[in-house]
Symmetry: C2
Subunit: 157 residues, 2 copies
């Protein structure tokens, strides 16, 4: 009556790990800057056109500052911190939703002394990220709010 | 330097609502059986090949028992309850992951006196669900565990 394929339930464990889900390095390639961040691929399968990943930063950790053609759909799942979106720095906390449009600079930082974990939905077929050039970073740093974010010291609220 | 499109942050509010996200009926078509369940479309946009939706049942509520060709990727986000997956009944709680393969019967029920809310990732392009025939339901009810689930009284553990 129903499919032969066994349905799959993976239970949540303590500390934002799941049964049968491997804790992976954030990126295979260490050329891009990041700190104290891990990746878990929660759903990645041929019959789904997107993947769902869980990224988590320890306090003080951050994802790579990057942009790309593909969009991201993010839900914060744990803790709080800040994110850079284009030219704006925003505080984020558990369950907030962040839509990252095509070619928008973005970075997440665990700035609040607690871990910051988020779900990220992304197309399986996608382009590679671009990193900011020195000139881009210099441009960012002209804005005090962005400079404070990049130094890991954004305002609390 | 970055895209013109404004980046979008939608803040989490109390009781699993989000700023700017509409609370929708579970289904447009009331022909399929369901009870005390709502839908919020968290991400649905042309540049993402999947949608991310949040469904929530009040205590005693349930989603439609159905199957279809497309797969679902589910994360429980709130509370606890039970789900039917193929021919098995499983207790589920916050942050558990459930992969629902193609053509697998499935239903969620808020059986534990608390709301049951879950995220569901699904391809934007997908087929319509099929409902069980009377004969399918009679077949289910031959299994005491499935019968108890369908009556809203599955075992606690």
């Amino acid at each position: 009556m129903d499919a032969e394929t066994p349905a799959l339930l993976r239970s949540f464990r303590d500390d934002f790990r799941w049964d049968g889900v491997v804790l992976s390095p954030y990126k295979e390639d260490g050329a891009a800057p990041f700190r104290a961040i891990s990746r878990q691929e929660l759903f990645k399968q041929p019959d789904l056109a997107c993947e769902l990943r869980y990224f988590e930063m320890a306090p003080g950790g951050y994802s790579t500052l990057e942009r790309h053609e593909h969009a991201h759909a993010v839900m914060i799942l744990r803790g709080e911190g800040h994110c850079l979106l284009g030219r704006s720095v925003r505080p984020v906390r558990a369950h907030d939703l962040i839509a990252i449009p095509s070619w928008t600079w973005h970075q997440f930082r665990a700035t609040r002394g607690v871990p910051l974990g988020f779900l990220c939905m992304v197309n399986r077929d996608r382009d590679r990220p671009q990193l900011p050039a020195e000139q881009d970073l210099a441009e960012f740093r002209k804005d005090p709010a962005l400079a404070a974010f990049l130094d890991g010291t954004p305002p609390a609220a």
